[in-house]
Amino acid sequence: MARLRLESPLDVRLTDSGLSVGEALAAFNAAQGGAGAIVSMLGKVRPDGDVKALELTHYKPLTLPGIQALADTARNRFSLTGAVVWHRIGVMVPGEAIVLVATAALHRRDAFAAADYLMDHLKSAAWLWKRERRADGWHWIEPRSQDHADLARWK
C-alpha cells in the first residue's frame, strides 16, 4: 500500500479520473506520522432513482486556487497537521466518488470539525457547477438554501 506519496501537507487536486480513496488515505496516513487523529469524508454520486450521470464544470483560474485557499484557512483555524482535498470534475455515474476530504490533527475534535468545515464550504463556496442527466436530459442543479444554513454554522 501507500505507493502514492503526498509531497505537501496540503494536497489539493481537481481530477477528471476516479478517486482512489484507499490509496489516498493510506498515503495520507503514512505522511501524517505525528497526527493523533485522521478524519476523512468521501462523497459519492447517490443512486438517486432517475439520475444517470452527474457533470461538474469548473473554471480553472478560480476553482483550484479557491479550494487551496479554503484548505489553508482550515489548516490554520483547526491547527491541522495536514489535509487532503480531492474533487472530481467531468462526468461521473452513480456510485462514483465526487469528493474526498481528509484532515489530520493532534486531537480528533479538530480533525472532525475541519472535515465538516471543508465539506460545508466546498459545497457552497467552491466554483463548481453541477448538472444531472435524467431520463429527459440534463438539468442544472440550483443553489440550495440548506448550503447557506450550513455555512452559517461557522460564522
Partner: protein, 80 residues
C-alpha cells in the same frame, strides 16, 4: 485582438455557447449589450459574479477588460 468571454454553468445554455470573442475594450455596459437580453438579465442578478483575468470583481460594474483578457461570467454555484 479581443476579449474572451466565458459562460460558466447554466449561462452557457442561455448564451448558446461556452465562450465568445468580443472586441476590446469591454466594460460593464458593453458586456450587457454584447451578450443579449437573456444573459444580461442574469448578469444583473447580485448572485452572478464576473471574473476578469482570473480575479473575481468585488463590483462587477467596474469591469474594464482589455486586449487578451479573459472575462468569466459566474452564476451561483450548485447546491450540495
Amino acid at each position: 485582438m479581443a476579449v474572451r468571454v466565458l459562460f460558466l454553468g447554466p449561462l452557457a445554455d442561455l448564451a448558446g455557447s461556452a465562450e465568445r470573442e468580443i472586441p476590446a475594450p469591454l466594460d460593464w455596459l458593453g458586456l450587457l449589450d454584447a451578450v443579449g437580453p437573456e444573459v444580461a438579465g442574469q448578469l444583473r442578478d447580485e448572485r452572478v459574479h464576473i471574473a476578469c483575468a482570473g480575479r473575481v470583481l468585488a463590483d462587477k460594474t467596474t469591469l474594464t477588460a482589455g486586449d487578451g483578457d479573459e472575462v468569466a461570467l459566474l452564476p451561483p454555484v450548485s447546491g450540495g
